[in-house]
């Protein structure tokens, strides 16, 4: 049975997914990206192989995606994270028509064709506003680590008003809120609400259609998906359904691995688009 790999070298985390021909995830692994992109991609891939008790010879095709995709030396192909995310969402939820992907440094809204192809997309500008970096900076100003964000958000009662979404100017807003005696949990939730506003604006710009799927590292905080859910008049789909909280972060790597099977079939002369099935 052929197994493919999708490697998503994101700005904050690098993710690898191994996928078999029945679209079952064989293994997945994640590492902090850091600044040695080629090295972390190799490490993440090897760790994933070790988890699955496989060797690189067992992998029939490798697609690299994410902002560091060009640095993956052992890839067969690169695809943009736009395409990989779209296909990953289509695999998990074939009815997906709009994808919101909030990662460490980027926020993207993607509109899909019924067959999972990208119809249009928008992404944030080069600044970190409206991304995971904004949340991380907000947490850090208050003395918390990234891993503390989830727990902090669960205790929020009255979200603070965070007007700005600039990661740099967030510091003055946080200091201002703290001086007013606002609890850190409410400031954090305020940052989430601010992020949500930006996400909704971005989705409007691609003329979002019903069938929303939310992915990206920020979605591991259930409060973010709930905030988006409350703003759009549509049932949102969250990979992992809130139980597998890390899955939203792996969807782009999953899409890349799925496209690798597509490519394998095409090279073998079968030429058919694989049919989505439960991953």
């Amino acid at each position: 049975m052929s197994i493919t790999a999708g490697i998503d070298v994101g700005s904050t985390y690098t993710k690898t997914v191994l996928l078999d021909a029945d679209n079952k995830i064989v293994a997945r692994h994640q590492l902090n990206t850091g600044f040695k992109l080629a090295e972390v991609a190799e490490k993440c891939f090897q760790a994933c192989l070790a988890e699955a008790r496989l060797t690189s010879d067992d992998i029939a095709y490798i697609i690299a995606t994410g902002y560091g995709r060009h640095q993956v030396a052992f890839k067969d192909l690169i695809v943009t994270d736009i395409t990989a995310s779209a296909r990953g969402c289509h695999l998990l939820f074939p009815e997906t028509r709009t994808v919101l992907d909030v990662g460490g440094q980027t926020m993207k809204a993607i509109r899909l064709e019924p067959d999972g192809k990208v119809k249009s997309f928008r992404q944030n500008d080069k600044c970190a506003a409206g991304t995971g970096a904004f949340l991380e900076k907000t947490a850090r100003y208050m003395g918390y680590e990234t891993d503390d964000i989830g727990g902090l958000l669960d205790t929020s009662r009255d979200p603070a008003e965070i007007s700005g979404v600039c990661a740099v100017f967030a510091e003055s807003e946080v200091i201002n809120q703290l001086s007013l005696g606002t609890p850190p949990a409410d400031i954090m939730q305020g940052a989430i609400e601010s992020l949500t506003t930006r996400a909704v604006q971005l989705m409007k710009r691609v003329k979002a259609e019903p069938g929303h799927t939310l992915i990206g590292g920020i979605m591991r905080f259930g409060t973010m998906s709930r905030a988006v859910d409350s703003r759009i008049k549509d049932d949102i789909q969250l990979p992992g359904g809130g139980e597998d909280r890390a899955l939203p972060q792996f969807v782009t790597a999953l899409g890349a691995a799925w496209l690798a099977h597509h490519r394998l079939r095409k090279l073998a002369g079968e030429g058919s688009t694989p049919t989505p099935a439960a991953a």
Binding site: Y61, K75, D76, L77, T80, I82, R87, V118, L259, H262
Partner: protein, 388 residues
Amino acid sequence: MSQNLFDSWRDQPLEEVLYQCRELYENTDFPTVRAWRDRGGKVLGHFQVYFPEEIVHAAGILPVKLRGGNIQPDKADSRFGSYLCSIIKTSLELALSDKIELDAFVTHPICDAARNLGAIWGRNYDYPCEILYLPQNPNSAASAEYLRGEYDRLQRMVERVAGAEINDEALRHSMAVFNRNRALMRELYEIKRQSPEKIAAEDAYALVALAGILPREEHNELLAYVLPMIRESAAKQEDRIRIVFEGAFCEQPPFDMVRSIGRSAYVVDDDFMIGLRWILSDVPRGRDPLRDLALSYIEDSSYSPVQHDLRKRKEEMLVRRVRAANADAVIVTAAKMCEPGLEEQVAYIHGLEREGIPFFVSEFEENQSSFSDLELQLETFMENLLFA
């Protein structure tokens, strides 16, 4: 002390050789040209596209291909309108800012801007600034004789600059040097077509472009040294789209643009610096060298939007190039404000559509510095082909 102008690649491994070539290509101070002059050598600068460098070489003068550069045309801006292409301005800027010092300059009437460049250049310098009129109609029976006359006129001008006559033996020797050079470049392109994973697009580009700023004997040595190493290199063959890049016959795309394209596609053929590769096979070395050169230009040459030969319809030549390289798609591009290039895009697009060859249309400017949008668009185009 070595008499060579560019030695840092010698005895080096492939990666270092290519690094040195990229560095030299991107150096807008043109150290090899400067070193040649410092040693008392004379330099003739010629503007794009094709120029019979053999005639200059035979006089012991260094022919330098002026291809603009990634510099701000601060002084040249005052000599040209803003509606003109960049290469016209940056080529003159290289001279006005003393980055390149010449003893003669030759341009061609490939477009209005290039035709006027000779007169504008000449107002700034005392040395000869000429226009070489390549035949507008190569299909005429008289064109070979006409071109031989033009080459003869050029030869006399070169002799005045050199202060010595050029004899036929010297010309034939230069033709042998250039024949060898073109054969080596053909070998490089054969590698690109057969095993594009072995040489990055920007490295192949730099290797060819250096011919324009080195004595051709040195360039021959460089290629003869590096080609076997490229052939032997063990690079993983990726499942990339194979593309032909069309639109770099005059103004050259920024080096980083070539690099960006080469990161996601295999550039299996192109028209980068096509003037250096214009003659397709060896120029015969018969009794009349100038006539041999003229005949090769007319009968045995490549194509570009600035040569109008009914036997070589550009869109058909492009399709032929695509087929010969077994390419999947074409990037049809043109420099901003380039009239011949933009006009020819229409014919190229119709030709490709007729043949069902996918293509991606874009524009560039040599001083452009951001390619992330282009890269994203190009990758999306290729993904549409890969996952159709």
